[in-house]
C-alpha cells in the first residue's frame, strides 16, 4: 500500500451503502431508546473502528446517556511482542459501577476481543452489560458471544469503511465495502 491510496478504487464491492447504514442505525437507536427508558445508560465505544458507529448511534438514542471510550491493543500490533498480552491503551475515564453499559462495536468476528472486554468491564460491576455491533461475521466466530443488537450479519469477506480499516486506511469511507484481495495479497 503506497501513500497515494485511491480508497474507493480498492473496493471490489459495496456491501452496505451509506443510506443502508444510516437507516439501520436509526432502527437500532429506536430499539435501544425503548429498551433503556429510565436507565442510566453509558455507551462504551472501542477505538478506533467503532467511533463512526457510536457517533451516529448516540444521536439516534433518545434517552440521556454518557459516552466513554476504550482502546485495547490488537494481536499482531506494535505492542504485541513486548508483553504477549492485551494492553489497555485507553481505559474508561469514569466509573461504570451501577451503570447500564452498552458496548458499541464495529464488527464481531472471532469474538476474542469482545470476550476479553466483557470480562474486563464486567469486573467493574455495571448494573448491566450489553453488546451492540454494527456488523456480525458469524462464520469467523471462535468464541461465542451473546450479542444484543446487531446491525447487519455479513458474509465472510474482508470489509473496510465506516471505521473499519486495513493498515489504518479506509476508515473514512462512508460505506462498508469488500476490499479487493489483491490489495492485501500484494501487501503481504
Amino acid at each position: 500500500m503506497n501513500g497515494s491510496v485511491d480508497l474507493e478504487a480498492d473496493i471490489g464491492e459495496v456491501l452496505l451503502t451509506e443510506d443502508q447504514i444510516q437507516a439501520r442505525v436509526a432502527e437500532l437507536g429506536a430499539r435501544i431508546t425503548a429498551d433503556y427508558a429510565g436507565s442510566r445508560l453509558t455507551l462504551v465505544s472501542v477505538l478506533k473502528g467503532a467511533l463512526p458507529f457510536m457517533a451516529d448511534l448516540m444521536r439516534q438514542i433518545r434517552v440521556p446517556l454518557r459516552i466513554d471510550l476504550m482502546e485495547v491493543s490488537s494481536y499482531g500490533g506494535a505492542t504485541t511482542e513486548s508483553s504477549g498480552l492485551v494492553r489497555i491503551l485507553k481505559d474508561l475515564s469514569t466509573s461504570i459501577e451501577g451503570e447500564d453499559v452498552l458496548i458499541c462495536e464495529d464488527i464481531i468476528d472471532t469474538g476474542l476481543t469482545l470476550n476479553y472486554l466483557v470480562r474486563y468491564l464486567g469486573g467493574k460491576k455495571p448494573a448491566s452489560l450489553r453488546i451492540c455491533t454494527l456488523l456480525d461475521k458469524p462464520a469467523r466466530r471462535l468464541v461465542e458471544i451473546d450479542v444484543d443488537y446487531t446491525g447487519f450479519t455479513i458474509p465472510d469477506q474482508f470489509v473496510v469503511g465506516y471505521g473499519l480499516d486495513y493498515g489504518e486506511h479506509y476508515r473514512n469511507l462512508r460505506f462498508v465495502g469488500v476490499l479487493r484481495p489483491e490489495v492485501y495479497s500484494s501487501a503481504g
Binding site: G76, L85, Y116, D156
Partner: protein, 179 residues
C-alpha cells in the same frame, strides 16, 4: 497496563500474567493460536483429551480424535488444520463421527482459510505461507500416535457402531471429557 486472566475467568489490570509452560506443538499454526489465546487471556489446554471414534468387532479402539485445544472457560474444543480445503475431507469425516458419538461436546474446526483470515486481521498474512502445510511442521518427531485409519480410503474404513452406552472403551489414552 498489562491484563491477565483470573481464576474466575475475569480479567484484571493488576494481576500478574500467567505463564503457562509451553507444550510441544505439532504445528506452528497451533503455536500461533496459543499465542493469540494467551494474548486475549483465554485459558487453553493442549490436546487434553482423546476421543475414541471407531472400534473393531472386538471392541478395540481403531480410530480416535484428539482435538488440538480445549478452552475450559468456554467449554469448547478447537481443532486446527492448515491443510488445503480439498484435503480436509478426512478430518471433516472424523469430526462428524465425533459429533455423532459425543453430541454433548462443543468443537470447532478451524480451517486453513480461517487461519488465513485471522492472520489477515492481525496484519500477519506474510506468516501464512510459512505456517501452512508440511513446511509449518515445527516438531516432526513428537511421537504422535499413528492413526490406523488415517491412510485408508474412506470407503474401506470399518464402520462399527459405538457401544450402546456411548462411553468410550478400549485403550482410551484418557477419560474423555463428555460435556
Amino acid at each position: 497496563m498489562t491484563v491477565a486472566s483470573q481464576p474466575d475467568g475475569g480479567v484484571s489490570a493488576e494481576a500478574p500474567a500467567p505463564s503457562p509452560a509451553g507444550p510441544a506443538f505439532a504445528h506452528a499454526s497451533e503455536a500461533e493460536m496459543a499465542r493469540i489465546l494467551d494474548f486475549y487471556a483465554v485459558r487453553w489446554e493442549y490436546e487434553p483429551s482423546t476421543f475414541p471414534i471407531l472400534w473393531n468387532l472386538d471392541g478395540d479402539v481403531v480410530e480416535s480424535f484428539s482435538p488440538d485445544f480445549y478452552l475450559p472457560d468456554l467449554d469448547l474444543y478447537l481443532e486446527m488444520t492448515t491443510l488445503r480445503q480439498r484435503l480436509v475431507r478426512k478430518k471433516n469425516r472424523k469430526l462428524r463421527r465425533l459429533r455423532e458419538l459425543y453430541p454433548g461436546i462443543k468443537i470447532k474446526l478451524f480451517y486453513a482459510r480461517d487461519f488465513r483470515a485471522l492472520m489477515l486481521k492481525y496484519g500477519k498474512l506474510a506468516l501464512v505461507d510459512s505456517l501452512s502445510g508440511t513446511s509449518g511442521q515445527v516438531v516432526p518427531e513428537r511421537g504422535v500416535a499413528v492413526d490406523p485409519a488415517e491412510d485408508l480410503p474412506e470407503a474401506v474404513v470399518p464402520r462399527v457402531e459405538a457401544p450402546r452406552s456411548r462411553r468410550p472403551e478400549g485403550r482410551a489414552q484418557e477419560e474423555p471429557s463428555i460435556r
